[in-house]
């Protein structure tokens, strides 16, 4: 948005840029009207200055087509009563958003999503930090352990969700079998709100812990060894080193993983959908909507009965806003980790 209107900004008067060489656009503009005799030189300079933009242009062109345009179009659709099943499209302004914000099922889905996000992300990032810390020590078969971290991430999310759903099964699930043989009672994982959130969070954590651990590991390798040696000389234990040296030193990486995990966590779909077992319970996240996430809520309205694309688009934009807000909050929160 800011890039879109620099010329109109009052703080930047329209005047020729003193150093023409530094601005490829000026060259390009000049080149058009330039006399023919300087053409080879101009073309050379044009190539030098404009080509880089040309090379990155495909990305931006694709981004415009598959990113910006759908975003804008979704916003447009969200202001209509727009069903896939009828050709009539009525403009309703913010009507869909009003309905959305007064729908208790939306707030339920938002609550579920945030709850699963917390349950999945917080333990997952701590575990990743510890795993990465362990991997920095000298181990036999270092590469093996490091690559092993990535294996759960390589597995398809559907396969992970199917296998974990079976493990969390009520009657014949492995986890209930273990619980029972330990003398604890069986848990109907799917029925309870908290238990279903835990089950879904475990699936997410299983898939992403190793991935985050590797990212942390990469960041840790960049921390100068002298800092650790100094900490060691001062008598810091390995745990103290982790929290007083490593964590502050890799703060930008932590910010990155927190934001990426947040964005992913707020959009989870396959895990709860498959956990619900297909059919209606998969769409509503259980009979009581106990684990319906925002994306499932969107799916329920957009791709289920009625195919209400207008309403689903409003959900999509609201989700976008939620993700931005939560990511910003996280960013502010994580920035508070101070280097000592």
């Amino acid at each position: 948005m800011i890039q879109g209107r620099p010329g109109s900004s009052p703080g930047r008067p329209r005047r020729p840029v003193p150093d023409c060489e530094s601005d490829p656009m000026t060259i390009a503009a000049k080149g058009k009207g330039a006399p023919v005799k300087t053409a080879p030189l101009l073309r050379y300079r044009l190539d030098l200055k404009a080509s880089p933009y040309l090379y990155i242009a495909p990305f931006f062109a694709l981004f415009a087509v598959f990113g910006i345009f759908p975003l804008a179009y979704t916003a447009w659709v969200s202001t209509h009563e727009w069903s896939l099943l009828s050709d009539e499209r009525v403009f309703v302004g913010f009507g869909n958003y009003e309905t959305l914000l007064t729908d208790p099922y939306f707030w339920n889905a938002l609550g579920n999503t945030l709850s699963i996000l917390l349950l999945a992300t917080v333990p997952q990032l701590f575990a990743a930090l510890f795993l990465a810390h362990l991997l920095t020590t000298r181990l036999r078969g270092q590469t093996f352990w490091r690559m092993g971290m990535l294996l759960p991430n390589v597995a398809s999310v559907v396969a992970v969700a199917v296998i974990f759903s079976t493990m969390f099964g009520r009657d014949f699930g492995l986890i209930n079998w273990v619980l029972e043989s330990l003398g604890a009672g069986r848990i109907d994982w799917q029925t309870g709100k908290a238990s279903s959130h835990v089950a879904i969070a475990v699936m997410i954590a299983w898939k992403w812990t190793g991935y985050n651990a590797l990212i942390y590991l990469a960041a840790m390798q960049a921390v100068p060894r002298e800092v650790y040696e100094a900490a060691h000389l001062d008598g810091a234990s390995r745990l103290q080193q982790l929290f007083s040296v490593t964590v502050p030193m890799i703060r930008p990486t932590i910010v990155f993983t927190v934001i990426v995990s947040t964005i992913y966590g707020l959009q989870i779909f396959a895990e709860p959908q498959l956990f619900g077992g297909g059919g209606t319970n998969g769409i509503t996240g259980g009979a009581s909507r106990q684990f319906q996430t925002l994306t499932l809520y969107l799916y329920e309205h957009g791709f289920n009965r009625g195919f209400q694309f207008g309403y689903a688009s409003a959900v999509a934009w609201t989700m976008f806003a939620v993700i931005v807000i939560v990511a910003l909050l996280n960013y502010v929160f994580i920035r508070r980790i101070r280097s000592s």
């Binding site: 080879p40 099943l85 759903s165 099964g169 009657d171 059919g279 009581s288």
Partner: protein, 423 residues
Amino acid sequence: MKTSRPSRAALAVVAAAALVAGSAAACSGEDDGTITLSVGLFGDFGFGPLYEEYSKLNPEIKFEERIAEFSDHHTNLTTHLATGSGAADIEAVEVGFVSQYTAQPDRFHNLLDLGADELEGQWLDWKWQQALSADGESLIGLGTDVGGMAMCYRTDLFEAAGLPTERDAVSALWAESWDDYVAVGHQYAEATDGAYFFESSGNMFRAMVEQAPEGVYDRDNELIVESNPAISEAWDLSVEAIEAGMSNRLGAWTPEWNAGFNEGTFATIICPAWMTSYIETNAPDASGLWDIATVPGGAGNMGGSHLVLPEQGDHPEEAYAFIEWLTAPEQQLKVFEATGNFPSTPSLYEDEALTGLTKAYFNEAPVGEIFTAAAQAVQPQYQGPLQGDVLATIGQGLGRIEDGSQTPEEAWAQVLNDLESFK
């Protein structure tokens, strides 16, 4: 740089042209005179050998089958119809969805124009009607199977509970009504110290509703869930069964449900014809333990499909010729023998080849006879546009009573509230 630029541009043009040409070639696929018909199904319809047979008779026709999960299949079909591309030449539609599609007949080839007008008498009358548009001017699909209902039960569990095990005696237990069925459930629960009598109350509720003269919609497509006495009776009886602890609370098609057939965690399940092969393949170890009795409350239909030809398909004549052949009695009989999907063509109901069929898995139960009687007795019920979704919403209400999260009153109130958005 300079010299390479024009050639690069030329290369791009050539590449683009190749792409366009390539995709065009991929679309037509008729250079050698063969036509590939795509067939979109949910689950295996047992058509495999029939494709081969048809290709032998018509060497120019080839087939490509796409199988998706039940609800995905219908969701995708709706999306493809709306966007005008992506649908297969031939698509299966389950009965719970068919009226949603007959409401937009222009999205399909009208089979009456392709030759189906002469075949009307071939199908059960109500099966034919289901695929007809409201004005009766266009027919969107030809019927494959019907789901006449029966009741599958575990003989070993019945024996342990001191109930009769022979199928006629079992049928007699609940010959009168669903009340009798629930009464047997009470008896079973007492004798077995609370073992589950059936797999889920939603299925039982659905069966009761499907048997009523009117279901969740009236003929004007108005929801009558609140006013239809048949629904409140079915609801109350389901609640009674839930409160007596008869339901195993298993969602259909879940891993636990699959395992239940083998393990015998529940004693009875309503089985339309298509369910029998599912039980057979899913619980091979329970062979001889399941048997089939008649369903309480008379006959009713649950499930069954049509084959439709989306308007966007390029080969309506060829596709029509194939589905006409495929849904003819001879082929429907072959499908029944292979899968248990019961034919929708009454001429077979007199045929010894159908009525004489038995299934070893179900203690040599005379499935031909049982399901013929069931199909013949079906009183067709009008299916509204969101039939399947409405029943699923009510089923979820029963699910909330089952898992103890709501009282029956709360669950019913929420069902009515949820159904508001269906109007």
